[in-house]
Amino acid sequence: MDFLSTILDILLSAAFWTAVLRIATPYVLGTLGELVCERAGVLNLGIEGIMTLGAMAGWMAVYQGADLWTGVLAAAACGALLGLLHAALTVPLGLSQHVTGIGVTLLGTSLSYFVYRLVLPQASTPPTVEPFQPLALPGALAQTPLTYLAFLLVAVVAYVLYRTPVGLAVRMVGENPAAAEAQGLNVTAIRIGAVVAGSALMALAGAFLTLSAFNAFFFNMVNGRGWICIALVVFASWRPGKALLGALLFAVFDALQLRLQQASGGVLPYQLFLMMPYLLSILALVLVARRASYPRALMIPYRKGER
């Protein structure tokens, strides 16, 4: 019973839920970004590299003297640029979305480290900036503005996808591009637009890491979060609301394992706890996503007038 009461104590503490919302933020942003790309029919495996570049670019802008929000914008712009590269290769040229995405990830990560080393060749301990501060609100509401922005963006993306003509167009090109074209839509432009917008969101996830969660840029700091977002999109059945739910669930597992590690006092190897959120995510994915109805044209390049 000792174990259960430990868990109960953790779940009842405000500090735990503060941590959950903080941990969830990059997953929310990254999952939204990936979701927008995939809804238009383009898998974006560049997410890990785009998040890394966003983390580096946002931090670097602030380190060079820009204010925090300019840093966030710089991150989004860099993400959008990498997204444009991914879109240019996969949409008009119709290259394999898998291979291109992995290439974009490799490019994004290496470019980030390269630029970082170019600017700061000597730094042994990473230099820091003054990050976003939590708002002075009680309990778990004491979050930084980027967390609030992320949660707001869930509603914005849901509204745009389901209530506006452009959202319908995005869903249509992801389901049946030939039908979209027969309705007079420009499939290429809509797909490129969605990938660029989605990639900007992914870069915001990176910027959150260096400008809110931490105050410096480390090597390997994205640490697979992008890949988790890819799985979360499936978990969410490509729906923004469920994406938020999935991100929160994963964050709960993650926050819980951190606290259980401390509570267990080294009896169990800590790697067991590290594994927990991933194992539980796979379990959740198996339970939820088997019947997911994915966008029908996902990963299928569209070529006009092909016989």
Binding site: R163, T164, P165, V166, L168, A169, R171, M172, E175, N176, A178, A179, A180, E181, A182, Q183, G184, L185, S293, P295, R296, K304, G305, R307
Partner: protein, 522 residues
């Protein structure tokens, strides 16, 4: 026709090449308001290409298009839509996961509005739906609609955008005879409203049922344009094929011993209605049994069952009197089942492999084609040359890549592979779908030869004319059930149509002696 209704569409000198193939060769056509023009021709005659050029999917190499007196910019579906041209594609361009309303409204509003006006879109859709008698459910996801409903949604999509010229590509290919009649009724309402309609077809009876004018295409050329009333079937068939054609005539044969027996076979679908529901069916030697039905009523499951791809959940499958316990495809081939699959591209042949490799795909383990795990390429090529010769496959040779063959020659290749070994049972799923008349009559005569040689043939087809021409007995698939076998000379096309739509009470007229099971009649 001087002084007739306004000319709404004028195609002048349209030509289009795909590589070495001249798909459209200097075609000129005019269309008047209120007119229904049937574009008749065999598969590959260039009908769809011509309409795709008109709608802006392709750009013509030569020629011009004028709609309502104004030139139409080439290569832009948007321009075609704006000029009042709507197209209902043969393979519907609808997104399954979106609702009917979403599918119809997409692209009709400026993309940068903050809010879609769904209320106005819904009112307009329901208004059109009522005016032309096209019933739809605006909020149902397209994936849940029947084929007929999807087609209505497609037509409404064009009307929603104020189409005054409607192009229908093989609109009846997927409909029951009654649904087709409903479609022709709709077309009459549309033309009464002043719309002009072009419909593409290769079926003669539709041309006479629905068109005012018929234009015949052959091998990319426009060979004739006639007022429909002033021509007849035989003449059109000859124009279409370029020579006279005879329908297949099966010789009367008395059935031999049973080769395939299904007794109470049920195949579950994992959710909802079973794919096959307590099916009883017997196919004898010297007999062709035709399975009619709208696709999706269990035909695919039946074909997979007889191919050994799936097993019955209950009931019994016997071949030549012995029960098949754990059939798999290779086992079925060994037991003498020859299979002509529904989709020759995906399930029949490997396009990227050579003709000879495809020909030995079912029996490469035989000692004649491999020894100690090594292929005997010489023997396989020699065998391929024999089959190519015997089945008249037009190809450069055994090493030709299969995907370079035409549809008809691919089908001959499959026939060669399956019929060369004197099968006991032939499973023919849609054996002539997409073939031209020449290839169709070849396939039919080969199937009838096999029947004469002692094979039983299970013919699954959506083409009722084909079934009635070839089959000794017919059964209709509906919701996974099969009707009792009906002798081909006691049932009419319209009765089959009613059975296909689930009105099994007509069985009483056809077979007065049968007792209908409760719940069968819809």
């Amino acid at each position: 026709m001087k002084g007739g209704p306004e000319v709404v569409l004028r195609l002048a000198g349209i030509s289009k090449r795909f590589g070495p193939l001249l798909a459209n060769d200097d075609i000129s056509l005019t269309l008047r308001a209120g007119e229904v023009l049937a574009l008749l021709g065999e598969n590959g005659a260039g009908k769809t290409t011509l309409m795709n050029i008109l709608f802006g999917h392709y750009v013509a190499d030569e020629g011009t298009i004028e709609a309502f007196g104004r030139p139409l910019p080439p290569g832009s579906p948007r321009a075609a839509l704006e000029a009042g041209i709507g197209m209902v594609h043969q393979h519907f361009t609808l997104a399954d996961n979106l609702s009917v309303l979403d599918n119809i409204a997409v692209g009709t509003e400026s993309l940068w509005r903050w809010r879609s006006d769904r209320g106005a879109a819904r009112r307009r859709l329901l208004d059109l739906s009522q005016r032309f008698g096209l019933e739809v459910r605006p909020d149902a996801p397209v994936g849940e609609l029947s084929v007929g409903e999807r087609q209505r949604a497609e037509i409404l999509k064009a009307l929603y955008r104020d189409a005054r010229i409607l192009i229908l590509d093989e609109p009846t290919a997927v409909l029951t005879p009654q649904e087709s009649a409903g479609l022709f009724e709709t077309l009459r309402k549309l033309t009464a409203d002043g719309l002009a309609v072009v419909f593409i077809s290769h079926k003669m009876n539709e041309v006479f049922a629905a068109s005012d004018t018929v234009a015949v295409l052959r091998a990319g050329k426009l060979v004739a344009t006639h007022a429909t009333a002033s021509t007849d079937r035989a003449k059109l068939a000859e124009l279409m094929v370029g020579r006279s054609v005879k329908p297949p005539a099966p010789a009367p044969l008395s059935p031999g011993e049973p080769v395939l027996e299904l007794a109470g076979v049920t195949v579950a679908s994992g959710h909802g209605r079973p794919l096959l529901d307590r099916v009883d069916l017997t196919v004898h030697r010297h007999q062709v049994v035709g399975i009619a039905g709208v696709s999706g009523n269990g035909q695919t499951a039946l074909a997979e069952l007889v191919s050994g791809l799936i097993r019955p959940d209950s009931g019994r499958l016997s071949l030549k009197g012995s029960v098949v316990e754990h059939g798999d495809p290779a086992d079925m081939v060994r037991r003498g089942v020859a299979r002509i699959p529904e989709d020759r591209h995906s399930a029949g042949l490997v396009g990227a492999m050579a003709v000879w490799e495809n020909l030995i795909a079912e029996r490469y383990h035989d000692s004649s084609f491999s020894r100690f795990g090594v292929l005997r390429r010489g023997a396989a090529r020699a065998y391929a040359r024999e089959v190519i010769e015997e089945f008249d496959v037009r190809c450069p040779g055994p090493d030709a890549r299969t995907q370079l063959l035409s549809g008809g020659n691919m089908q001959k290749l499959i026939l060669g592979r399956t019929l060369a070994h004197g099968p006991d049972l032939i499973l023919a799923s849609q054996p002539t779908r997409g073939l031209d008349i020449g290839a169709v009559s070849y396939v039919h005569s080969r199937l009838l030869d096999a029947r004469a040689a002692g094979a039983g043939v299970l013919l699954i087809s959506e083409d009722l004319d084909e079934i009635l021409a070839l089959a000794d007995c017919v059964t209709v698939a509906y919701h996974g059930r099969l009707t009792p076998l009906l002798p081909h000379d006691r049932v009419s096309v319209s009765q089959l149509g009613l059975l296909m739509a689930g009105h099994w009470d007509v069985l009483r007229d056809i077979l007065p002696e049968t007792q209908l099971e409760h719940g069968d009649a819809a």
